[in-house]
Amino acid sequence: MNRDEAKIILLPYRLGTADADDPQIAEALALAERDQELKDWLVEHCARQFVLRENFRQIRVPAGLKEQIISERARSAKKQLSGGQILRWRRWAVLVLLTVLVPFWFSPRAHDDTLSIYQNRMVGVALRGYAMDLIATIRKKSAPTLRKIRRRLISICLRNSGRLA
């Protein structure tokens, strides 16, 4: 390591910090112990670093910033509180609505299970027309037309009625 390399290594060196634990910095510091010119440079550099650091830390913080941050927080907390109250009210409303609706929703539908309803439904089923079924069956078997069937049925009925009589 030459003097210039040591200077580059020592640029981020901060006196009194853990920087000296870095092996490269430790090596550069050891070189500075032996090299008077590098040592002088390092002393100056450390002094400059100190001044820079102090100057950075002297950036003046405007008065009232802390109070402003805290008061903003308090204001926003109040807003959050009112938001919380709204939420609580909404929860109550939902709860009331559920209390009203749930019993209605789960109430037993007794009227559907009565015998009279069942009977009516069955009668309806029994009385419904079967025309479509008949036509479909007839067409499937390529049977004669409905008119022919009707004519035959009438003739059969007449014949039978004659016999019965």
């Binding site: 200077k7 580059i8 981020p12 820079l52 927080r73």
Partner: protein, 173 residues
Amino acid sequence: MAESPDFEILVSRYYEPLYQFAFSLTRDEADSYDLVQQTYYIWANKGHQLRDITKVKTWLFTTLHREFLGGRRKLVRFPQVELEGAEADLPVVSPPTGSRLDAAQVLVLLAQLDEVYQAPVALFYLQDYSYNEIAAILEVPLGTVKSRLSRGLCHLHQLLTGEKIGTSKQRNL
């Protein structure tokens, strides 16, 4: 998970270094004021998401830096000016006057560094942060932080002293 620290204690503890960091980035009092307030506002709303409460300080600095970068991206009020073209407008800082510097002059010097070097250099001086901490705050790899610091400090040294060291071969710490 540790208990969340009291908001006021958090403000008392960190508002000054946060403001100083913000000011070293923006060099504007109002912008820095806003940045710090915004940082604490975000903490108030999202701070509970931080699992490791010991990292509050890093979280605050990271948030402030993110807000700064976000603001810079949105910024259309101020056109970007290349440093070479604006040299005449910058205040003159006479070189080897380390001991006679003040905060304003230091910030002028910092402003002359490339933008990517400014945040690590400011953190380096402001808080004595380790490289790992700076990397965590800026959300960049450790190697990048070391390299940026090395270049930034080298440039700063050059501005202060006029001495040019190792420009051809930058050390990667």
